[in-house]
Symmetry: D2
Subunit: 337 residues, 4 copies
């Protein structure tokens, strides 16, 4: 059993903890955070399903007064683990790295950190092998994670020459009060970082991207244009996507009209935290046009990175040395296909 800790118990951290808890070959040692956020209060009201470690030991009394049992300090958590999933806000992971080095532990950082923090910039499906045995891995961000799933899927089948995307980005998560946009679309400079990040992970592919922020909270939509190396039919594209355990093909005519429909579906499913791990390709948007594959898909920003983060644990700890065995184990425990 690989011992895993989660540092940073926010939107991503709580989902990493839930994901680790479902992996039968991992043990969730505990989670750590700085203070009494809503997520930490919820942990107390749930009866402390995970052990909690305080990043700021001085807050112990305040935490315990609110019902949060404190099992120790974050350094104590680190010492008990083989590997840490660091889901702290962007920039903090870089500082935490010193602690992980101090105790000789491995760590997996999220997409908000600078790429230089890690030995390898990682995506479970695209470059699993490069993560094998590494000490520090950094995941791709939510949009990039979803995008690479789709591009890698096509690339392994017929080869990909280039990729042009338009990201229609959700601007905040449900419950966010610290950021937002009201009745406005916001345009970013081209190319967006997701295109650049894709090229870092898949250097044989050229990519560019337009990104427009929209005032919604449930899922990014990426309109995608892939130039494959070999001709391919629409049916073959659908077949590739249907065969991928982390890609869901849905139909607009069945009611999957957009990001909010997918959120509702995951919620109706009774999924933990109403989450969905898969990206969802809208079948009626898939088209082969002048040698390009066109399609649009949904990225559930809060949960999409969880599977690839668990893949990273597997690679770092060499739990599986084969790519498909590694991602397959994650899929099995997350019930993906």
């Amino acid at each position: 059993m690989v011992k895993v800790g989660v540092v940073g118990y926010g939107v991503i951290g709580l989902r990493l903890a839930a994901g680790v808890a479902r992996q039968e070959d991992m043990e969730l040692v505990g989670v750590a955070d700085v203070g009494l956020t809503l997520s930490v209060r919820a942990l107390a009201e749930r009866g402390m399903p995970y052990d909690f470690y305080a990043v700021v030991p001085e807050k112990r009394d305040e935490l315990e007064a609110a019902g949060v049992k404190v099992s120790g300090t974050v350094e104590e958590l680190i010492q008990k683990c083989d590997v840490i999933l660091d889901a702290t806000p962007a920039g903090v992971g870089e500082k935490n790295k010193a602690l992980y080095e101090k105790y000789g532990k491995k760590a997996v950082f999220q997409g908000g950190e600078s790429t230089s923090v890690a030995d390898v910039f990682f995506h479970g499906y695209a470059n699993y092998e490069e993560g094998l045995g590494k000490q520090f891995l950094k995941l791709t961000s939510c949009n990039t994670t979803g995008l690479i799933r789709a591009v890698d899927c096509v690339d392994r089948a017929v080869g990909v020459d280039n990729v042009m995307i338009t990201i229609i980005r959700r601007v905040a998560d449900p419950g966010d009060y610290h950021r937002g946009l009201t009745n406005a679309l916001k345009v970013d400079t081209v190319p967006s970082h997701q295109a650049s990040d894709l090229m870092l992970i898949m250097p044989h592919i050229k990519a560019t991207g337009v990104l427009v922020h929209t005032p919604v909270t449930h899922g990014h939509i990426i309109s995608t244009n892939i130039k494959p190396k070999k001709p391919v039919t629409r049916d073959e594209v659908l077949e590739m996507f249907n065969a991928h355990p982390r890609i869901r093909v849905v139909r607009i005519k069945d009611g999957f009209q957009g990001n909010a429909a997918l959120f509702r579906y995951a919620r109706d499913m009774g999924n933990p935290h109403s989450d969905m791990y898969e990206i969802a390709v809208f079948e009626e948007t898939v088209e082969v046009f002048e040698g390009h594959i066109i399609f649009a898909f949904n990225v559930p920003q809060e949960a999409v990175v969880i599977p690839e983060s668990l893949d990273a644990v597997r690679a770092a700890m060499e739990m599986q040395t084969d790519r498909l065995e590694g991602v397959g184990m994650t899929n099995k425990y997350l019930n993906l296909r």
Copy 2:
């Protein structure tokens, strides 16, 4: 064991089913719906945790092709039940009533139906006794249900003379594509139906209300002004609310900044379907001003009516004849306080 069926498996119906399933003294016989909605598809993907009955038998093949095992027709479901929770769209319940009468079954309708459909207009806390043994009960709508909880709570303690509210209404549920409002506030004629409905349930109280629709999906906020019959202090008001199993007192300074924060909290809690049954009073808004009690509270529109709907089953079936015993049993099984 009282045998309960749910007719109409949408936003409310699926939550009624989940609520019934948690009542150890009720048996959920099954659920029924007209077709292949997202919620019904989710039922199939979940492995049919509830038996499904078809309202339109001709759709059996289409349903089964999509993985929805069909256990029979809606009439068959009705015959197997003691009482039906009807959560069909407004106006349909009235038509279904003929079926319930045909088989001599009791039924509980939701707030969208016209009040004349039922023998009694019902709220678990405010008029449980009037529902005892009745064949047809109609629940209050989501806002009215939450409002009456708070008003009844004060009324039983110190008496209430009149109530003046401003409802800041969410305009659609997450995932709704058939209705919406974009960058606009919409004002309704005064008084709003919630004030009129309150007076039907509590005829000794005078009420009026302003209602403004807002383009959000997570919870209504009701700004409330209650004129009590006896003087009361702010601390006494907070004590009343804190003692009520279906009222949660939350603090803005703890991060409960509004409806979206409460939605996120329920989601972080891992609650089924990310739901919250309680209304939530914002502590920093509670004030006694010139003999009036002022406060604002959140109404989680999708789940708030579930407890009172279960109370209605208890009253109709005379499972408990005492008000506090009846609502108390619902609370116990829903883990409310």
Copy 3:
């Protein structure tokens, strides 16, 4: 002086009237509508700058009671005009056509009508010549009008092989209460009608498009990918756009961050009705990538079709028989470059 009437005084109709009033070689005979909408009430409060003709003569008393002086019936208006700009809701124009035929008048329909209503599907810049002397012309819709401006601009310079777009569509206009979307992105089937319409106007070009509806009211954003027939540099593309009187090149770094910034700018300018006629290309999104021209631009949905509608009057009435002379006259009077 060509005599012009506007039938349908709503979002588009009032802007057509304002546009006609600025053309020194046209006379605005009057406007017509069915009833007492907000726009018609505003006309009264403004002191009736345009003569008003009633579509429903029975409403004369109601209209005049509200201060709307009625100058006659819609049939009387038609008889006084050479050409009608029909801006009635989709489908109504088709019915009105019988009236225009009865009096032998020319008419220009808006994009919502079916293409079969007209002799020619028209865009001032792309196919002015085809509109010359025709009786019935139909304009392209707002997105298509803006898109064709940009595509035609490139096509006349270097030739265009194909076009792939992603339309990020505003879902309602400011003040709309009859339609809306709340916290949701909605995906349409590919290809969107704008791509198909482009191919009708420019049959030598192949086009496809993804369309996603977003809950905002100020301007569509179109992410565009044009495959030119000859190689072209980024500077050359910017030069083409800068030279076009109906295309504005703006910089994100100057504060033009998206559709709402452009709306504010037009409003700060003191433009009539806070309108902008030009599409606006975001300079930082212009890129040449693997032989494709990439860029994003804003379409001000309410006013963008006005110039091309005036071009249609010029073509239909053969006021100018040369394309650039025709559009140039419209530009001159609208102060475009």
Copy 4:
């Protein structure tokens, strides 16, 4: 002719300039700002209808390169004026005060400044006399300005004992990218500052208020509950409001359904910058209930303070010493009733 300068040419400043320019007994000397905002760029594109003075003289070259003719420095502007309308961001006015003192000029600050900056906290209708001859005046904020209009209107007729409001606040202005809220309602601590500010201006009235932020940009809605000192009928209340030059009574059934409808109406009117100076009471919300006057009204946040700001100039400069003469002159030039 009183010489007026406007320092701070943003959302409020540009409207102050437009308002001053319409007062035939005032001369707009010029406007000043720190840099090349969209509003300043629009000034250049409009052909510099107002003289521009630079707050940061070092930016002269950059400004002039963008077409903004610079007529001098802000200190030069101040010296040429009798009184300054300071519409700089909150906190900056306090710093500018030293300049106004240096040159012995009068100044009117906006509602964002701290009340201590001024000799008097001012509202044209409620306390005009207190502003007479003062050097430094501070206006009430947008919501408070609108609220006091309505409360003062009732107070002068029948006396007001207390006021209880619920403000449904728009969270950003059209075009704002620096602030926003997405799919969330945000609740503030009671009482809101508008209630406290009302009591500063009208110390004989007690007030409290709930405030909820909503993700829209067009106008706040205030649900109001006024306890008058004498009994009053609904018709009398409507008569009072109808008689007030800065209050507009509108009907929901005429299409004035909320804040966005009023924005559209002002825009359809062709008003400069699509602005409306009046608050608008929704007639169908006016009710007398248990001795309280209930109603809801719209506050056009961008323009509502302009008339009272001009009143402040009149009071400070003693252009009119009588309250109704002063506000009446402002109304006359702004065409209010």
